[in-house]
Symmetry: C2
């Protein structure tokens, strides 16, 4: 059946693309920003996927998911065309508000323009769908503000729909069957399924051949039977947004001024030629596009129409708070460290997180050190103390409160640490630190020896030992154990108007001047002469 005569001429109307950004994408961006980018705010290449409309109620969208930040995302499937994008993520709200959105859009549009002129589009048609995301991830408040643009070249010449019909109305039964069959093959082939722009040649025997754009060169055939097809994300009775840059391409690169186009649509994975549209559009060659520095007008911020770009941007906020709330608490608790890590790369959080810290003494020093270790990202603590909380303690030992009076410190400290950092693994051990030289009664001898062995085992299974008891004498035996096990030992003491913090044993570097009898290079201790 021959194509119908044109019914009326009208301006080219197209259905806007919608973006859909999974919260998972923003969570991935948040992590990227926090863990990798830090203060670097240069644009990041990402990939989205462009999908056909699968169901009238689920319009085709450009989607970004948690995989979009991966170098080779696993999108290249039947329902996803990989689309390159640029993400511009700013460091703060002011930077976001001050972004020159016109310039950014223009830059992105220029890349499409030059890809058209250079012929790059023929190699990779998805470049016509290139687009842009701007965002500010408010890390501390777990919010994202963003906007999306689909840069589209505006031809400065008149463009007219000559006619537009359902494909099934325009094609004969045989042509329709043949096209359906060919499209299925196209869509099922690994090579072509992700190719959203193509051309269709319908021979006079109703057979159909679908070709990639790169096959155009040198082609010259019956224009009556030539359809410029594209995957149409829309489901209205007019074409989707992708046609806009396609026409710009046809006009600029192939110098065509009148085309028959096929808005290819599917329904539940099958070609739906009733919904697919075949139309005809004519467009004069645009003026002055040949000038070497010429850049066409670009439009495309989502939700905006040409001409209203000057109004204040309405930010799209996304709350990340609802994502994985369980693991999020811990994320929030280490964020300040990650942010500090932006400027102090020597802060290696994984080392701190996995370090097993043994805190000897849970008094004024023990409380503060245990809490501050958590603040600095330590999550494995063992606290040893032999005493009980008393009234005078609670005004000096920061973690205890009136209800703890009479409770062993090693027991009382555990919930206080956990209620400040639910992720901490903390064990409290009620035990007196043995002090060599102190008199031991016969009845207590075996329990003191048990304590010695227990302390040795604790030191051996720790990475760092903090000596925070209230006498120097009680630091002596643990100091020996640390030296013997070659563990980092840190002693701290405070007085009326002075304090001391000192590291023993294994030093921070490997070039220590001190070498002990075992050949360990290490720092001296506060008992060394």
């Amino acid at each position: 059946m021959a194509a119908k005569a044109e019914t009326h001429a009208r301006p080219l109307e197209m259905e806007a693309i919608e973006s859909r950004v999974d919260p998972g994408f923003w969570d991935a961006v948040r992590c990227l920003k926090l863990d990798v980018l830090s203060i670097d705010d240069s644009p990041v290449p990402i990939t989205g996927c462009y999908t056909l409309c699968a169901h009238p109620k689920i319009p085709g969208l450009v989607r970004l998911s948690s995989k979009s930040l991966e170098a080779s995302p696993p999108f290249h499937s039947r329902n996803n065309c990989i689309v390159p994008r640029t993400l511009v993520n700013t460091n703060n709200m002011l930077g976001f508000k001050n972004l020159d959105v016109d310039l950014l859009l223009k830059e992105e549009g220029k890349r499409i323009f030059y890809d058209i002129l250079s012929g790059k589009i023929e190699e990779d048609p998805t470049l016509l769908l290139r687009f842009l995301v701007i965002s500010f991830v408010d890390l501390k408040n777990w919010k994202v503000y963003y906007d999306v643009a689909f840069p589209s070249l505006v031809l400065n010449s008149k463009m007219t729909f000559l006619r537009l019909h359902s494909a099934s109305e325009v094609l004969s039964q045989e042509e329709e069957t043949s096209l359906s069959k060919s499209m299925k093959v196209w869509r099922d082939s690994n090579e072509t399924t992700g190719c959203p722009f193509f051309w269709v040649h319908i021979y006079s025997d109703s057979s159909v051949v679908i070709r990639q754009l790169k096959c155009w060169k040198g082609y010259s055939g019956d224009h009556q039977k030539l359809l410029f097809g594209f995957y149409d994300h829309g489901h209205q009775d007019y074409p989707g947004w992708a046609l806009r840059n396609y026409i710009a391409f046809l006009s600029l690169r192939w110098k065509i001024e009148k085309v028959q186009f096929l808005c290819y649509r599917e329904r539940r994975g099958e070609p739906d030629l009733e919904k697919s549209l075949i139309g005809e559009a004519s467009f004069a060659a645009p003026h002055g596009w040949d000038g070497s520095d010429y850049v066409p007008e670009i439009i495309g911020w989502e939700g905006e129409k040409a001409g209203d770009r000057k109004k204040e941007k309405i930010l799209k906020p996304i709350d990340l708070d609802s994502l994985n709330p369980a693991s999020q608490d811990e994320e929030k608790q280490v964020m300040h460290l990650k942010l500090m890590g932006w400027r102090h790369p020597s802060l290696v959080l994984n080392k701190l997180r996995s370090a097993r810290c043994l805190v000897l003494g849970a008094g004024a020093l023990g409380c503060e050190v245990s809490r501050l270790l958590m603040t600095w990202g330590v999550r494995k603590l063992t606290v040893v103390d032999g005493g009980c909380v008393a009234i005078p303690d609670i005004v000096k030992q920061s973690l205890y409160v009136d209800n703890d009076c009479g409770v062993p410190r090693a027991t009382a400290i555990v919930p206080h640490l956990k209620e400040r950092c639910p992720a901490v693994e903390v064990e409290g051990i009620q035990m007196e630190i043995p002090v060599p030289g102190n008199p031991v009664s016969k009845t207590k001898m075996s329990s003191v020896l048990d304590n010695c062995k227990r302390l040795q085992a604790l030191v051996a299974s720790s990475d760092v030992v903090f000596l925070l008891t209230d006498t120097w004498e009680s630091r002596w035996f643990p100091t020996l154990l640390c030296a013997n096990e070659n563990k980092i030992a840190i002693t701290a003491a405070s007085g009326y108007d002075s304090y001391l913090v000192m590291r023993h044993g294994a030093g921070p570097g490997h070039n220590l001047s001190t070498e002990d009898a075992l050949g360990h290079q290490r720092l001296g201790c506060c008992f060394c002469k």
Copy 2:
């Protein structure tokens, strides 16, 4: 009625004195130690009171009460003879255990010995009852360990009871009536009621005259009718301990070798001559006491008998915990400060206690500063903050716990401070600190102005202002207010590996080089050029 003939001769037996120490006395000693003596452990003169036995079931005791540390205690009443003592309070348990108790007892006994020889006893007979308390006040554990000694001179010559009877048996009815009458006058007179040693002359007409020791000189009369009387604390059928030193006095000073003595006892404030004893004792002049350096043997540790002084001292522990438990908690909470004050007298606790501190900001800095102010004895706090507690805060801002999330910091901080120091008066004010230069919308204008006025009033009513907000900008307006009100202002800030603490305004001394336009000598601020 004539005195009965002697019935039998036996060694002199005497009833030991008991001491009764009110816990109030020990609390007074605790306060004296903590607030006045500090590390000074030299002996302290104190006064006790010696009482007659008032009732068979309430033996006469030497008492120490909370007034015993006063210079002129109000004891000089009918029932109390003021007795001088010495308190030796050591600084620690080791010092207490190492006390040379024999030497101490000897020293105290020597004073009695010399007072006898010098005639001082005649002027002040209570010196014969002089005694000694040794103690260690364990301030941190609110315990007292003590012992009491009544130093008694042991005559190294034989001493024998020749007879011993109830006074009413020995005296005639007339003599008894007369003695009762005279004793009542003696006891009712201000001059003599506190005089526990005296002599009684019974004339042949049964009239009785009681005389003070100092009236002995030159006396020469009928020895048959002469009684050496003393207030007898005991109620047994043998004399009380006080007779021991009295006989030493009579022998050494007055060279008497045989005396009739009167153990004067009362019952419900009336002379009880039935219970009172009249006895006769003979004692040879001791050997060698005239040697210039001679010191007699001294006994007298409470509960010990002559000869068993070498056994280990059994400490008498007293728990002060039960005294005024309400005010005690606060006492316990400032004890570390008082102890620090022993060596750092510049620590003036009253100044700190009465200082009204305004804490601006209740984040990481605000939490620590508020708590540490309490640790240093500050008890009047006002905390201002505009924000709410969030998950990331609880690992960094020391006072908050998971349950506080979502609660305004100014509200959440109050119970956390109180549960560490019940005596603190703390007010939390939820308010944003106005920042000059920040844009203010018209709707918020009046509330921001209200905040300005409120902050001004808060600064005006404070003594010290702490600037602990999370930006420098928000410290600007409070800095101005502090300069205007001439208040001490302390700003603190902390970074990754650095911190700043700086005092503005009124300086610690009065000789500052900086003088402002109003003539106030004061320190510059962190905004000064």
